[in-house]
Symmetry: D2
């Protein structure tokens, strides 16, 4: 790779994310929000015409017919991309990721890591040998109050943790949307494209990642009862999971896509010997903190009681809500800090955190364990 | 028993509930609130002096040294008690209940039914042979919006049910209150007085009963992971339970007494093919109802959208909150309807509902199954 | 009056409150809830037949055709009533209140005090010469967290107060219910029965009383803009009021009966140099307290942060909601403490607080001032 | 001006917004979020050195020592700026706005319009003669659910409006922050820089604009009671305002910067003959809608019940919160649509809405009327 100016935006490519895709647009906004990236190349669709049309509509300078061509060509350019965002369905993560990592191009990849654990392990090997960074967009870890919660747990504000209650409830697959034209529903309920987990992979991995990120705990075993409530659905649309962590904490994880009244109900509750914390994605600027024996406190982003870990990934004063896109952008901002540090060979600034391949592997092991446990009638499976 | 005037208050006795007891005072207010009962006799404590002092302080006409004496004497009086409230710790439910039932005196008994399943079965046999009624104060079924929810499920507003998520979270046993003078904590953490279930018996039975009452579903099996987080505690203070119901619905039940920030967080969420419902005890006058594909609706007690099942157990207009005591009083009001009907041999008014011995037995089976499952590493146990 | 036993229930009579009346039933429950009163006599309706039928249905021993007859007869009995609850429409408060006070019988009277300020002043004179007590049921002052708020303000937790924002929003008169058979709406929109204030008198007085009770401030002047939005309505159904208090604090009061989406939205917010407080009647067990520069705290009834002023008017643990009836019953419980003290000539227990004739007069002056100000185009009127 | 490519980003300049300024950073993110603008020139500070340093830090290509120089130079360039964002304190709005408008450069200006009504009128004259657009960033009108509310009112969902209750409550000026180093506080409490209104100008204008935008009503008169609670503060820090609208609707507006516990509590409630609406900035993705006589409904951004007016200014699915920056970016997105249309002389796409100079003038008249009314002891002042 060629040496860019220190303060110039990071040149970014994108694989997937052509017109009609939801998550591609989110990545583009996230990349743009802080001005740290410039999207200059894309292989936006496996259909070349659609790829070109999408690139033109988005004002992307260089359009490629496929990701391999993009990797080759960009690696050769003096002004080639420094990083690539991979926003394809799950089964199309590993191959492009491996390709770009081998070329030394940093990868920012949507979750879950891959469709299968085997792919994930293969990718992990390549990543381990590459100098390029791998950033997984477990975007909920970018919320300032999630950072705040993590910092409070780490500081011992809750004492030793006992309980981890996490849930991610949605309603959108209550009916068979995959049979009525929803492309989002189609690939997410298709084992060939999503892998072995349905709700488990799509949102269960988010819940699992969030719980681990904030609690700092290491899961040891789980027991999972997966269901496919909608007739004809090949993958689970509901997951009931019991968790056991190293050190004795226990937990429950509920992921559902058939819970009417829930849009994106990701919610985490942690309880320890000294206190409790509660956070919900649909009201993300607030964190409930209860020191045992004292009144519940509402800690707000950048408000009284919030600390530097939240402030460093926050842009505006308290009471002005930040949301999903800002949190997603924080993953990109952290990635930018790490990538800029790589330009000069320095360490990223203190406090730089982003989800890595290890998190992705953990998520894949979680999905695989859920499926295996459920097949064994919810027997305990070690993680 | 002697024949009372039709409209005269029902003469009530009480076993337990001497000074310092929490639940005895609740029963007395509940009995008094609608003017349907008059508390005229009591064996308020196993310590005769305390029994007498408590009776005098409460203005109860006839005080007895023990419940057996009360049963004998009252059964002989023309103006003897028609019903008795049993508000002792769990291990002291069965014996008095049996004694009064044998005398033909109706029993209103606090939950859980007994301390052991064996006692429960013995009690059930006696009750089955008695003409007297047995009412169990699973008080949360008395909330108007719980009745509303039950009616909506029964009317098919949610379609076939898929998911039952229920929880009862408290914080008060986060530390070892039983070692520091809390009488409430002492007996609730003592297997000799509470039975085999800690949180499971004390609040898990409430959550379980509520879920069954509203959903109308029959549980078939459960898998439970019980914990005693506080060192030295003999009974569980946290229960993580997976549920499977006849017909295919599945559920999660969480009961905890070590969750700081939760006072009496009993919360039920039901999801079906056509919609969802959510209710929380700490905000009991509201019920969230989402017909799938429409905006969430907030149905309020006596407000638009609420029906006769709620209205018949409600006293005041919408927006004026009714609470725990009114819900508890509704159990007494329903009991009064049934008892008055017995005076004349008629059927109680349509819609009269109260928790019975069958509910109590189900609760005991639930506790027993939780303990058994947990001992087998959360294996499935049929109910 | 005759001398009753010290611990016997207080013998109570009732004027108004026959079948169909809302507030009469509330008073009866409130009187009964703590077992401090026994309702033994009534002149429940101005229609003698209805009065008799209502008394019989309610099991009230002695029914009278009119309140004057009741006052005469009861005053002569050894076991005559010690107190009377007056629950008639506003224009029928003064005459019976005067009659009973002259007989030395304590009066518990619904609000607002009277229909006119002239009546109120006449009543005040009689009350001033009577040994009997006068208790006005400004029931919201009975909520534990309202007591808590008052105590915190008095203790200086907010510093010197600057702002008083109070509102009472309802929806029930959005349409002309008074023309379609609602008896509650009929008299409340009838100047002959309600007096000069509509929403102002019915709920504005509650808001005003609550604001003064909690803040401890003395209003000096107000400017009011009253509206009658529903065509043909003779009294105001919406009141916008600016307030100025002695010492420089200022406020806003909004009372409305035409605000769809609001059931009984009574809400008080107080802000001072050091902090803020917020309380809402529809969620009455919680009080938001913000010490300036610290996180908001949720103080709960009987929970951490709540003090003895709330605990003394509370019956059950935190997290079990108490509501409107309990708060109303607290007014009766306070009245009972004061009446029992009168039996022996002692002072009531420390902390006994109830709304008095002075509060009633203040309310009437508030209504009169609102009407006068509004007639002068919202000019300032001194209070 | 020179002719740009149709799809190329709009070249933007900025006046003010150097390092340390809050609102400048917000404008930059808003401009960048949808990729419609490219910030290429700036006069970021009145201190040339600071201007240069800020421009360099932000990667802005062309830095100018003052806005007049920027206007001159950019107007001459083929690739000069097409629009300028003015983000200085209030007293520095009019002069640059006039300068750029005269050069035919579109102006995107922060609110309130100016410091004085006289300046505002002068600016209005110039704008009236210019072909360039003037967009005022009353950013709250960019929230999707604010658009939704406006559309519902316009569609008659509430019937004829009766009541407008609006408030904007903050806490940050509870103490004299302006004396302790807060630059934000300094200029906002300085009449020379802010004009005659303190809270009135800074946040009262937002509340007023929001109320007018959503209700579609024309205010006719107001009565205002302004206060400066913090000793030594020259401008109001609290405003209590009564409103009267053409057609008979009435309202209350409360703006405060001394209300502890409130961060950015902008809240609008509208009530009409047929229903009510409630919206709060701190929970912006939800809109409460109550058709009179039906349950309250929670309409969510992009969820069931929300329409195209919200969807067109929204980026992500329901349940993923959008916030302040997205709403602000919507003003820029609307501006971009209008500016692009100007490039070709076409009309902007249907539904394009942004706050204009007329809104700014209305805001200035509001501030002036508040001050005048308050000086006359809250007498009514026509608008």
């Amino acid at each position: 790779m060629n040496t860019p100016m220190l303060h110039a935006p990071i040149r970014l490519g994108m694989v997937g994310g052509g017109s009609g895709a939801f998550i591609g647009a989110v990545h583009r906004i996230a990349a743009r929000l802080d001005g740290e990236f410039q999207l200059v190349a894309g292989a936006l669709s496996s259909t070349p015409e659609k790829a070109r049309a999408s690139a033109q509509a988005l004002g992307i300078a260089r359009s490629y017919d496929d990701f391999a061509a993009m990797a080759r060509a960009e690696a050769r350019r003096r002004d080639g991309i420094e990083a690539v965002a991979i926003v394809t369905p799950n089964h199309m993560h590993a191959e492009p990721a491996i390709t770009f990592l081998k070329r030394g191009i940093h990868v920012i990849c949507d979750k879950p890591l891959t469709a299968t654990l085997a792919e994930a392990r293969k990718l992990a090997k390549v990543a381990g040998r590459s100098d390029a960074l791998f950033i997984l967009t477990h975007n909920y870890t970018g919320y300032p109050m999630v950072r705040q919660a993590r910092a409070m747990v780490a500081a011992g504000d809750l004492g030793a943790l006992r309980l981890v209650q996490v849930e991610y409830a949605q309603e959108w697959l209550t009916e068979a949307a995959e049979k009525h034209g929803s492309k989002q529903a189609e690939w997410r309920t298709d084992p060939a494209r999503s892998g072995a987990g349905g709700a488990t992979g799509d949102i269960g991995t988010h819940a699992y990642n969030l719980a681990c990120f904030v609690s700092g705990l290491t899961p040891e075993a789980l027991a999972a009862d997966l269901s496919s409530f909608v007739p004809g659905r090949a993958l689970d649309d509901n997951a009931h999971v019991l968790l056991r962590f190293a050190g004795g904490a226990r937990g429950m994880l509920w992921a559902s896509q058939v819970a009417p009244g829930n849009e994106n109900g990701l919610r985490l509750r942690l309880y320890g010997e000294k206190g409790g914390l509660e956070w919900a994605q649909e009201d993300p600027n607030r964190l409930w903190f209860t020191p045992f024996g004292e009144p519940r406190r509402l800690v707000t982003r950048n408000g009284a009681g919030a600390g530097p870990e939240a402030a460093r990934v926050s842009r505006i004063p308290p009471g002005h809500p930040e949301g999903y896109l800002e949190a997603f952008a924080n993953i990109y901002a952290e990635a930018a800090r790490a990538i800029r540090a790589r330009r000069t060979g320095e360490a990223p600034p203190a406090g730089t955190i982003y989800p890595t391949l290890a998190d992705g592997l953990a998520g894949m092991r979680f999905v695989e364990a859920c499926v295996r446990s459920s097949q064994r009638n919810a027997a305990w499976v070690t993680l």
